[in-house]
Symmetry: C2
């Protein structure tokens, strides 16, 4: 007979670990900067290179356009992000960090890296790298699986 031990089921373990870690991050970001995870993902990507459309942000952050829209509205309301018309396409806007947003990011980035360091304190560099690589493979595998199921 086939037994399935929940504890040994990798998708379960993955979900639990991810939720715990996301909880830590979400709490920290909310408390420190009043940002939700979708919002700070946008800040993060915009800091790498501004002048992006929301559609491009969605691709970069793996969030759907609805979530990007909501996060963008929240950030613009707080003057962390500025919208400019897109000369190439009137339907879309180009988003960039404002001066204020840039300042916020400069505070956010070190804090994020600090939390990451603390969470992964027990991991060697090699392990971190390996984990990262496994997660990427897994992501592709899941996408492939979904594609197969037409």
């Amino acid at each position: 007979m086939t037994t399935l031990q929940l504890d040994a089921f990798l998708p379960y373990r993955l979900s639990i670990a991810s939720n715990r870690v996301s909880g830590v991050i979400a709490t920290a970001y909310q408390a420190l900067f009043g940002l939700k995870i979708p919002e700070w993902r946008l800040v993060c990507v915009l800091a790498e290179g501004g002048g992006m459309s929301q559609q491009a942000l969605g691709v970069a952050t793996r969030m759907d356009k609805v979530m990007v829209s909501r996060a963008a509205i929240a950030l613009v309301d707080r003057d962390l992000v500025v919208r400019e018309p897109n000369p190439a396409d009137q339907r879309s806007h180009l988003l960039s960090l404002s001066e204020l947003g840039q300042q916020l990011y400069d505070q956010i980035a070190p804090k994020a890296l600090e939390i990451e360091r603390e969470l992964f304190a027990g991991f060697s560099d090699a392990e971190r790298k390996e984990l990262m690589e496994m997660l990427l493979r897994l992501e592709s595998a899941a996408e492939r699986y979904e594609a197969e199921q037409t």
Copy 2:
């Protein structure tokens, strides 16, 4: 200057991979058995050993009591799970799989393992073991972190 590359941020990668995998599992379980993830987690644990209180199920599945309660109600409604009074404590009930629930589980388990196998097809046994172990460590680290933040 400290830069934070979102792509290289482990909590982000973890969240993306986990959500993708959960999506695959959730879709499969909904389509095949009409079960949501919280429900099938209960089925899974009850199959290992019945006669548990909801509180114990919550510990075993890492779900809070509200989610356990809702999942349990759904399963009892479908006659997959039976409740019996707990002689030791009148506030709680003991849950077990019904005959029908056991039959469902017998179908579920192989299918779950098959999906897991497919998702992790590119992983060696050693890699799977290592991933599992890293996820457990991460879970503890996150819990420790949360505890520290009083």
